[in-house]
Symmetry: C2
Subunit: 641 residues, 2 copies
């Protein structure tokens, strides 16, 4: 055998184009098999469509169509009413991997990698040999452009094969048509599921889906309010890596360390900057370009020693507890679960990236009791359908000892068994996906911890809920007994003695010895006028819902009672009529200083909420103050704002 | 709010450098947290070292060192005795992502992506701001070069900061030193585990590991034979995507379709080429550059209709059943399991990439009975430590109904519970990892299917094994009873009657009525002379082991018996002395045509095996022919070659 040397090997060493890399590793991008390829292609298209509409504050109106040809070839069409894409950028956005506008911005968005849609184009040409077609219109009074392109994988650049203008009856927007090899028969159920889930967590979007059989499905817009727009922020000192710090200093325009810190980082004011420099033993006026590695190391260490405000969470756009409830309700419509619980954590930070965890838990009803709980995962409002086993959400849930909360879990580890659905949403400026296919979240300890905290909070609420229910049920049994049997006895006795039936209020009160609080929620359909924020604003009449809450407070104690009552209000609700007059209204609650209630007397407390869907608010969360909470059934002790 | 247009958005759109992308997404490369970063760094270094030695047919001699500095900084040193790297290539290999020699070759190797080691350099500079140091020597009589470099992430190119020559007392090799932030305390156990597992499946490698406490661990070389070198092959027509076919035709030097097919694909001979062209309705003499998309489509479809030989598996280098047994034995040394079973599938193909599955199963002993079975995963001789939940190996195992094979598995799905270890090795020219961190395998249906087939085969062997054991045990009890009690009775009776003790052979035979086959394995240490294939070949004496198998065949039937006996031989074994003379020896078995055995007589069959370690072969797998298998205890029916 001839000896092989380093020189021989050197001849084989060469650059790998990023497009070539993903062509070979298409499963990394979510195209591992023909079913998944279908979902991934639609997902990337819809993600982009939603992002681009939101970027220009337009309510998304998305059209999705799948045509199923013979030989497993599908044509995917996705159209939006976003701003369109300028002609020069089309070949880059669709014909080049690692190109985009959202990668360099620290702000929550669906697409962040600059890979997704060009990967679909790549997969399409790889499997069908066909070009992708893009139509884009950027200005109302000019025609749309139509382009056909393929990706030259050796160079990772688009090759435009056809360029033309075309009339398009739309003020602006983008339409893509890509042919791919896909398994429509197996995949169609998932496409529907994906679009439905997407619609639920993006209620401001309208999605029209025409399936390959020609059936059109509407996923209607249920709110005209765009989600809070995520604001772009600067990196936070806590999360910045030493190497990134050095790189930033190399490229900064600032001539002084202090201005470098204040202009290039978030949460760095005069005082924190001063303290950080002092702790690092650095002159604030030093030119950052002249700092040594040791200087940067000292600064990097000093960051950890200074208390720096968490980054603003303006850059995040969480789903909100109401929407999570609604999503879970929708998911469980035919199941009539016992209760739905949600928990929302304050925003937190990993490696300088703000993130926030929201979770929801559905329990009971017709859900199967002997199977693993169903796990639903969302990231930046995008449902995650695959790779559940490799996701930190799953491991976080598995690491909790659910037996303590009354669920089955062999050996106290793993996904618990029981009639429940666990939903998790993570929003972040940078979702740490385990791969470019964006299906599972990597095991970042900070994220795992927040998910666990959120679910523990849920689990405690579940326990409290059950406890409250049990207590109320017991008291009600007692109450029913008293109010049915006592009057019977009294009537019989009075009749036997030929005396008038006595008033039993005092007796009942004496036996019950509680303040009883009970609520009823009703919904009233109303017409409301809304103004869409579409390009041409129009006023529209829509059917809305007013949620009416009636709370009955009865004093079954032997002494007069006077206390404060609090009712929690969902964040998205608008408070309407309130009766009696409250002593305080905040965005989170209504507070009443109830007047003295005499024994056996009652007070009705009513309020109305707008801005919610039917069933979004179906039970009051009530708290009391200035009264011994053990006297009260139906409300808990107020623990302060 | 001012209206944002497509033109505004266009300003933000820009290219993302691949280095920038991975800097931001370092968890995708396996650097998600400080523990994992340590393992990943060492793994990438060792993978490269092994690959480069094997590439030039040198027995690897790898040195690994970890120095743990304060503040969580570790210095990783990895040194090999491979061919070194020519000076010009060093900056590319270590300072550029997506650069390498193995990506474009269809052949089994550890590194395939051209990302691994430069990712470690990137992570190092990102977290410590320090340069990577590379020493390389390519020729014995010239000095080594030493380079310090960083990666300019905006350009994805190395920046060389220091270049020098240095004396290095080694014929050739590469040494890298990279400082990274890592959690040594938590990670050190995994480093040891990883190196140990690596050593087990790479018995031709010697690994010296100096840990941060200064302790030196030797993982000794246990074989001087390099694994079969994987040969580079051409793509197979079955797996090639339409787009790739078109691209290949665009770049081919062939002027005729027939020569294009014969020179650029594997398994395409004259006849298959002719048939494929006919089925596609294409002229064999057409110039491939002049073919239309429809022509390619027809050809692509024709491929599926023609019977084309599977690609040669020369490009694969499986571990082999012996090594898998040894690996499992090593893993279970202190557990003394009941048995170890292995199964090896023939090579198969997914998307044109040949792959092969080997599995092993350990059962019983002190393994915990109430926990999930332990799953060990290997890909191209590299242990996979993370992302078990997201790996197709795990889902394939989980999808088998293990209850049918006597294991616990709630609801017949999921990882079974029981005292077992399941090992899987996949070798392939292209391992479809779910991400660049190479920790889990994507869900490719063909691969899942092969894993399931392999484990089902194992499970059946387990059942057979148990059945054989039970049958032998029952017969032995009967035998013990007869051979102990009958002679006692005979002796007593003879004594009472004052007659000589009669021969009981005929009686025992009558009662037993079986052919009894039993084996004993012993090992004998011997000195052997081996010749290393190191750069300077030397002859060395080493302690070897001869495995001696003694098989006893006793005829307890009432009639003379004459039949054939087969003993299976592990693929790596070298057959030595065999007694009596066999009628056939192949690489898989020895066959004896046993002479007539009279009732109550026995025959001893002996053979010796070299080339195995002690304990590699600890039980015979015996088969019989030309005799009713129900007569025989200790061997099964021979089912043919």
């Amino acid at each position: 055998m001839t000896k092989i040397t380093a020189h021989d090997l050197a001849k084989k060493q060469k650059e790998i184009s990023v497009a070539e890399f993903f062509e070979r590793n298409k499963h990394i991008l979510g195209f591992g098999n023909a079913t998944r390829a279908l979902i991934t292609s639609i997902k990337e298209g819809v993600d982009n469509a939603l992002d681009s509409c939101e970027e220009v504050n337009v309510l998304p109106d998305i059209y999705v169509e799948v045509k199923n040809h013979e030989d497993g070839e599908c044509k995917i069409i996705i159209e939006d009413n976003g701003p369109g894409i300028v002609k020069k950028q089309i070949p880059h956005i669709f014909g080049r991997l690692l190109y985009g506008s959202r990668f360099h911005a620290i702000r929550q968005s669906r697409g962040q990698q600059g890979i997704g849609i060009s990967a679909v184009v790549l997969y399409g040409q790889l499997t069908t040999g066909k070009h992708a077609k893009v139509i884009s219109k950027v200005e109302e009074d000019r025609p749309a452009v139509i382009l056909e392109l393929v990706i030259d994988t050796n160079r990772n650049r688009a090759e435009v094969l056809n360029r033309n203008t075309v009339h398009w009856d739309k003020p602006s927007g983008t339409r893509i048509e890509i042919s791919i090899i896909a398994d429509y028969k197996r995949g169609k159920r998932f496409v529907y599921d994906y679009l439905q889930s997407t619609s639920i967590v993006n209620p401001h979007a309208q999605i029209t889906y025409k399936d390959a059989e020609g059936t059109v499905h509407f996923f209607e817009r249920t709110t005209e309010t765009l989600p809070r727009k995520a604001v772009e922020i600067k990196p936070h000192p806590y999360g910045v890596e030493l190497g990134t710090l050095i790189k930033m200093a190399k490229h900064t325009k600032a001539r002084k360390l202090s201005s470098f810190l204040k202009t290039e980082f978030s949460s760095m004011g005069d005082r924190t900057t001063k303290t950080a420099c002092e702790k690092a033993g650095l002159d604030r006026n030093i030119n950052p370009k002249e700092m040594s590695r040791e200087d940067f190391l000292a600064l990097h260490k000093a960051f950890k020693k200074v208390k720096i405000m968490a980054p603003s969470n303006d850059c995040l756009s969480p789903i909100g507890e109401t929407l999570i409830r609604r999503s879970l309700k929708h998911e469980t419509e035919e199941i009539s679960p016992e209760f739905i619980i949600t928990a929302s954590r304050p925003s937190s930070v990993y490696s300088g990236n703000p993130f926030q965890i929201e979770v929801g838990l559905v329990y009971g009803g017709n859900l199967p009791k002997d199977r693993s709980v169903k796990i639903m995962r969302f990231a930046n409002r995008v449902p995650l359908l695959y790779q559940q086993g490799g996701c930190i959400i799953t491991s976080a849930i598995s690491s909790i000892d659910w037996r303590r909360y009354g669920m089955d879990q062999p050996s106290g580890k793993g996904i618990p068994t029981g009639p429940a659905i666990f939903l998790t949403h993570i929003s972040s400026t940078q979702i740490p996906f385990t791969s470019e296919s964006k299906e599972a979240i990597a095991d970042i300890p900070e994220i795992e911890n927040e998910i666990k905290l959120a679910f523990r909070e849920c689990a405690r609420k579940v326990q409290k809920h059950i406890h409250k229910k049990v207590r109320r049920k017991k008291t009600r049994e007692k109450f029913d007994l008293i109010t049915k049997i006592l009057p019977e006895i009294a009537k019989k006795s009075a009749h036997m003695l030929d005396k008038p039936v006595p008033s039993l209020d005092a007796v009942i009160t004496k036996i019950m010895d509680v303040v009883w609080i009970e609520d009823v929620i009703t919904y009233e359909k109303v017409d409301r006028v809304i103004q869409t924020t579409l390009i041409e604003p129009v006023e529209e009449k829509q059917q809305g819902v007013i949620t009416k809450s009636k709370i009955m407070v009865v004093n079954y104690k032997r002494t007069p009672q006077k206390f404060n009552l609090y009712a929690l209000i969902p964040e998205d609700a608008v408070i309407g009529a309130v009766e009696p007059k409250p002593s305080k209204i905040t965005s989170n609650y209504i507070k009443w200083g109830l007047g003295t209630i005499q024994p056996a007397n009652k007070i009705d407390v009513n309020f109305e909420l707008a801005g919610l869907g039917q069933g979004d608010f179906d039970e009051n969360d009530l708290y009391i103050e200035n009264i011994n909470p053990t006297y009260v059934i139906g409300a808990d002790k107020w623990e302060g704002d």
